[in-house]
Amino acid sequence: MSANTPPPAAAPDGDPDGHPGRDTDLHGVAKRAIRDVMPLYLPTIPFALVLGVAITESAMPTAVGYSSNLMFAGASQLATVTLAGTATWLTLVITASVINLRHVMYSAAMSTHFRDQPTWFRWVGSFVLIDQMFALTVNRTDMAPSVWRRYYMGAGVFLLVAWIAGVTIGMAVGSAIPTEWRLDITPAVMFGGLVVMGISTRPAAAAAITGAAVCFACLGIPNNGGILLGALAGVTAGFLADRASTRRTRPQEPRRIS
């Protein structure tokens, strides 16, 4: 399907005179999205439970801590409710906001997908652009814009609802889970697997290795600054490796090392 063709999503769901085949197809897309996002969702459960416990123990009123779900950003939410007792208002806001700066890079990388989408969806879809959504959808270039939109929304709405449910359960029973189970490391294991599965070229491997190494070297930087520095270094490494390999395949542009 060319980019100029309007997305075939005009027929409303359940239209008896519409296109049942297409409607069923789109319905299947949302289901497929939820099935595909499940491995990414499972590791967030321990995190949601921990956050639920932290909300009940926070220095801010429980209802206000619960409203942190407005951010839909686990690490920022955890920082907000745990720092409320010790940090000043401004420190709290800056710390929790800086944690999410990596989303600026997601936003840039996803802009090519959203270019084919209607304006309303650019506004709505952005809200659920969390790590898992980015990992799930950024490489799905095989879908027509309307299918991609349904896929994205299926996974996004599921993650949002399931996340809030997990936090709520954590507030009720989260403190009963033994810490020896080490469920806290499940997100790291999941993202590690995801990185490996996403690497298909040498420049991508260079980006991943550099990103991890630089982040490790910069772990001492406050506010998760290591993620940003690692990401910038990794993107630079991938970009340079990509350009170098393109040059090698183009002999008319010889490169001399002086």
Binding site: P39, L42, P43, P61, A63, V64, S67, L70, M71, F72, S76, T80, W89, V93, A96, S97, L101, R102, V104, S107, A108, A109, M110, S111, F114, R115, W123, S126, F127, L129, D131, A135, E180, W181, A188, V189, F191, G192, G193, V195, V196, M197, A204, A207, G211, A212, V214, C215, F216, L219, G220, I227, G230, A231, L232, G234, A237, G238, F239, R243
Partner: protein, 105 residues
């Protein structure tokens, strides 16, 4: 922290977070990016996600937060992910690894 300022903080952080996510999607929607920028954006996913993995391993405790058993769990998970292309299998293998290490040591 009392309810008013706390809720105000949450609203401000939520807005900043939303702008981080929506900003460039909205700004770049009707603009063409230079090809070199598009080339660089291809490497956002591997770079950010691997940095995020390391950061999650540290758990906010700096380099000392990265322990051998955790690295082993992520390593086994990564190998299984590469071999099976199955994220659930990868997660399961990684967690079983750390449970065995905990039981043995």
């Amino acid at each position: 922290m009392s309810a008013g300022p706390a809720f105000a903080a949450i609203v401000v952080i939520s807005i900043v977070t939303y702008i981080s996510r929506a900003g460039l999607i909205l700004f770049l929607a009707d603009r063409q990016l230079p090809t070199e920028a598009v080339r660089a954006l291809r490497y956002v996913a591997p770079a950010v996600l691997s940095a995020l993995t390391v950061n999650l391993l540290a758990g906010g405790q700096g380099m000392s937060g990265v322990t051998g058993s955790e690295v082993a769990a992520v390593g086994v998970g990564a190998v299984v992910a590469a071999l099976t292309k199955n994220l659930i299998a990868s997660l399961f293998a990684g967690m079983v690894t750390i449970w065995i290490i905990i039981l043995v040591t």
